[in-house]
Amino acid sequence: MLRTHHRLLSAASASLLVLGLAACGGTTKDSSSSDGGAAAQPGASADPNAKTKEGLKIAFLPKQLNNPYSDVETSGGKVAVGELKGEYKLVGPNDASASSQVSYINTLIQQQQDVIVVAANDPNAVCPSLNQARQAKIKVVSFDSDASKDCRDAFINQATTQGIGESLVKMANELAGGEGEIAILSATPNATNQNAWIEVMKKELAKPEYSKLKLVKTAYGNDDDQKSFQEAQGLLQSYPKLKVIVSPTTVGIAAASRYVSSSNYKGKVAITGLGLPNQMREYVKDGTVKKFALWNPADIGYLAAYAGAALASGQITGKQGEKFTAGKLGEYTIGADGEIVLGPPTEFTAQNIDQFHF
């Protein structure tokens, strides 16, 4: 054992020596530029009158398969691809991890798709392969959760980040009666959209009109039903004075509502956030949930498919100000950084929920 220690020490000191040498001059965060590898296509120009191509191969890659929310999103995409007379394909990993999407992107490149519509689990991890796809003349549209803006052609945003954050705080404030403790139950810690909304919420909460609302914790349910259920349970146990749980994820809000409606917190703690009417109907009817909001997710997939077809047909290139028509949804204009905003979210209450079926 003693000799082992000696060897270990000498190995360690040798490595440290190497490190010391390497430390003199090298690539550091400050010295390296991070813009390498971006596959911008500067020469491309849009022809708004170009004919929409038929037979386009449009593939959807959601964050993970068998998630009710993304199932609705992609179902809208399927409808649109049908209208466009294209070939629809849906692929995706079983787990919402950053790296498992990459293999699927690579496969789609191999299969020579015309358009990849992707919801990125990590905005950067998918970037190298998305840029390879673009080099292979595939148009990349991100939806739901954006990829880094230099590796996709356009991004379909459900609503503006600002608008969602504001409406979440507004609903929480109404439900809390203007004062008290609130908590957030989010999806995965790296979900781009969730984090952006939470940032806006924090800025909103800092305003004087919300000074009596106190955000006590942001919990993460990883968009997993059981984990979200446990996190909701944990929040109520750790913060007995909690008045509202705001869950900006359909998995989280449903799990939290299920817990509250079956516990003695029912009627004392309010749940709000972003949810699917079909999943939330029973909790709205039994009074656990007074109001929550969402856009129509099927429209996101629908709009993404039309944006992809417009890109692949050369009608747009993703530059600010370009216009295209997205079937039944009408005309859209591309905003800054290739962002296309679907529209404002809808608030669902006991009065209107029965009008929505998704």
């Binding site: 490190l19 690539t27 390296s32 690579n106 191999q110 950067n124 991890a125 190298p128 993460y220």
Partner: protein
């Protein structure tokens, strides 16, 4: 003749033949499988599994196991992001991460050999411990702005052709581990330890010291793979490589290494890795769902445990019959 027949019937040659068969069938029958770009993707996908499988083969041959490898990878990936954010140079971070991996492996090795604890229990413990530390280091965030010349090297190919840069690394390390296992006294001593650790000890093999260094090697390679993984996905995250340990153990067992130690070859393991990766790649190109992929992988694993046992019992029956015939004459 009987030597040839024995060799042909051994599990690792079956798996090598099966791998070749799958590669040929997929190249002919699966559109876009046999292209150079797909070859690059295939190598990149199997890189972490094959590298971690090299020391894992050694460890399983001695009858032990290391389930903490994926967590070691996650922790070094986290540290890489943390070091980078704190202004260390990448040329310094890479060896430092390998060193951290080696130290994490040394901790496993110490618990297993120094305290004599069972490796399964120890490395299940450090699996959770190292992953937990990874989240302590980097939290839930991701670090992404690594220099392009490094991330590009990992995903790039030699001269822009079909051969990925990382293949050089894979081949070099596989050669080193292969030669050590199959052509040195040290390699033979691993089989002796796996077959009977006590007998190996009494024949002068330093069992504990050998195992200790195997864990160090396993940790160091996991650290290196942590670096490569981070650069490949341009993303240092605490959850990187989750579940990789099972893919590695699966490939090693599929390659014909006995979970009880003492048996198996590195060519078999390499074939096991390629077989699993090629099957997944080909099925994905055919739009087979993720669940079906899991079923195929699982079924292969069950077969890989089942078939060698069945064939060896059949062989034993033949052998007895032949002995009886010889005695009758």
């Amino acid at each position: 003749m009987s030597e040839l027949r024995r060799r042909l019937a051994s599990w690792d040659s079956i798996i090598i033949a099966l791998t070749v068969l799958v590669l040929v069938i997929a190249s002919v029958g699966v559109p876009n499988f046999g292209t150079s770009r797909n070859f690059t993707f295939l190598i990149l996908d199997l890189m972490p599994i094959v590298l971690v499988a090299l020391p894992m083969t050694f460890i399983i041959v001695t009858g032990e196991i290391d389930l903490s490898v994926a967590s070691t990878l996650g922790l070094t990936s986290s540290l890489m992001g943390w070091f980078w954010n704190n202004g260390l140079s990448i040329e310094m971070i890479i060896p430092l991460c390998v060193l951290v991996g080696a130290l994490l492996g040394a901790f496993n090795g110490f618990l297993v050999t120094g305290l004599g604890l069972p490796s399964l229990a120890v490395t299940i413990g450090t699996l959770a411990l190292y992953r937990g530390l990874a989240f302590v280091v980097l939290g839930d965030g991701a670090v992404a702005d690594f220099p392009w010349n490094y991330t590009g090297w990992v995903t790039g190919t030699i001269g822009g052709g079909a051969v990925p840069n990382v293949l050089i690394l894979i081949v070099a390390l596989a050669l080193i581990f292969g030669v050590v296992l199959h052509a040195t006294p040290f390699g033979r001593s691993l089989y002796a330890i796996g077959a009977n650790a006590q007998a190996a000890h009494f024949s002068g093999i330093r069992v504990a010291r050998t195992k200790f260094w195997l864990y160090v090697a396993s940790g160091a390679i996991a650290g290196l793979v942590g670096v490569l993984w981070t650069l490949r996905y341009s993303s240092a995250r605490a959850d990187n490589g989750s579940g990789l340990e099972l893919a590695v153990v699966a490939a090693v067992l599929l390659g014909g290494v006995s979970i009880f130690g003492g048996r198996g070859t590195l060519p078999g393991v390499l074939a096991g890795v390629v077989l699993l990766a090629a099957l997944q790649n080909a099925l994905r190109l055919q739009d087979v769902s993720g669940q079906a992929l899991n079923i195929v992988t699982g079924a292969l694993l069950v077969l890989s445990v089942l078939l060698p046992n069945v064939t060896s019992s059949i062989r034993a029956t033949w052998h007895r019959r032949r002995l009886r015939q010889a005695a009758a004459h």
